[in-house]
Amino acid sequence: MTWIHVYLLAVGAVVTAGLSVVSITVGLAIGILVCAASLSRAAPLRWAARVYVSFFRGVPLLVLLLLIYHLLPQIGIDVPGVVAALVGLTLCTSAYQAETLRGGFVNIAPGLVEAGRMIGLNATQLLVRIRAPIALRLTLPALVNEGIMILKASSLVSVVGVGDITRTAQNLSSSTYRPIEMFATAGVFYLLLNVIVTRGGNGLGRLLGLPRT
């Protein structure tokens, strides 16, 4: 174990962090849309949202990644493994986030919305000013959790050749014959990233005046 190894793993950590940040962010955007569909008045939209959430939560991420990695070239989209990895991670997390957000919306105390209606807010104002902010406050802890989940799940992108922490540790382990040191150090990097996400979530929670968890 030399500093070179730690450096290479740190580069892998940057890749892992990048993949996680992009997929969480894009996943949130898609999750909001899917959540809106699941709360929509149109039954086909609700059904589509249900199937979407059920499928992407029900299939192991590894299988999803393999599917996308092989499917994209077949339908004429030839992209590097990292794009397939991003697509897989994003679809997976978007389904989880949609479900979390839906829970937030459904659990808003009706009295809070009624109070808004009584002071004369219209439907759009109720959504933008009352319901969405409250739902976000309710779901922030779950979203932070989701961030940690996707951080760990992103280790699976190593199977489609993306050089994240896990892939780097694998390469180093086979070139140095020191799997214990390499994978243990990889674990430490994941723990460090976890701490960063948790701290960030707590900071955001304080900004929003949430009770500490």
Partner: protein
């Protein structure tokens, strides 16, 4: 199109893979909560000095990817005299991984049992073991059911990761077939549908179970 002859040739292997997946899942689902319960009970009722180290182990397992843990166990194990068959290593890894999560779920359940229910048991004269066995464990089971069902489904999905350390379960069997016949996409699609059905099915069973236990819940 998928080569049907090739598929029928590979079918027994794929079926074996499916059985192994189900076996690993059920065995892990039986062992992980037991080990998790032992950890939860030790942390809650054991001597104070066991709490810190157990907390640290649980947090490390919950904070790192299952894949990295499996690599450590499977490739690192032989260096410390732990030379395991892939399937044994897989079951061991799955159990330890699941136990860490279950210990937190069950510990939360133990804490969530209302204090008054334990006090009532003390007043009726039940002793410590009786209170754990007759009051805390059953009430906890009720409280942790939804989270546990979730966790069982997580375990099912994590069994797919075992293919990377060459456990010949469903994912390995199907992708092996796919690479032998250049039918990756079809193979992956079939695989996805298999897992989807399994997770949906277990979700249905879990929700039915929750409904059955609803009458025990005091609003």
């Amino acid at each position: 199109m998928m080569d049907l002859d090739a598929l029928s040739d590979a079918f027994p292997e794929i079926l074996d893979g499916l059985w192994l997946t189900i076996f690993m899942w059920l065995a892990g689902s039986a062992l992980a909560p037991l080990l998790g319960l032992a950890v939860a009970l030790a942390r809650r009722f054991g001597p104070a000095w066991v709490d810190r180290p157990l907390w640290a182990i649980v947090e490390v397992i919950r904070g790192t990817p299952f894949l990295v843990q499996m690599f450590l166990l499977y490739y690192g194990g032989p260096f410390i005299g732990l030379d395991l068959e892939p399937t044994t290593a897989g079951l061991l890894g799955l159990t330890i991984y699941g136990a860490a999560y279950f210990s937190e779920i069950l510990r939360g359940g133990l804490i969530a049992v209302p204090k008054g229910h334990v006090e009532a048991a003390l007043c009726v004269g039940l002793n410590r073991m009786q209170i754990i066995r007759r009051i805390l464990l059953p009430e906890m089971t009720l409280l942790v059911l939804p989270a546990s069902v979730n966790m069982f489904i997580v375990l099912l999905k994590e069994t797919a990761v075992l293919s990377i350390v060459t456990v010949p379960e469903l994912t390995m069997a199907v992708t092996g077939f796919g690479s032998a016949n250049f039918a990756f996409t079809q193979a992956a699609l079939v695989l996805a549908l298999c897992y989807w059905s399994l997770t949906e099915l277990s979700g249905l069973v879990g929700r039915a179970l929750e409904r059955r236990l609803d009458r025990f819940r005091i609003a």
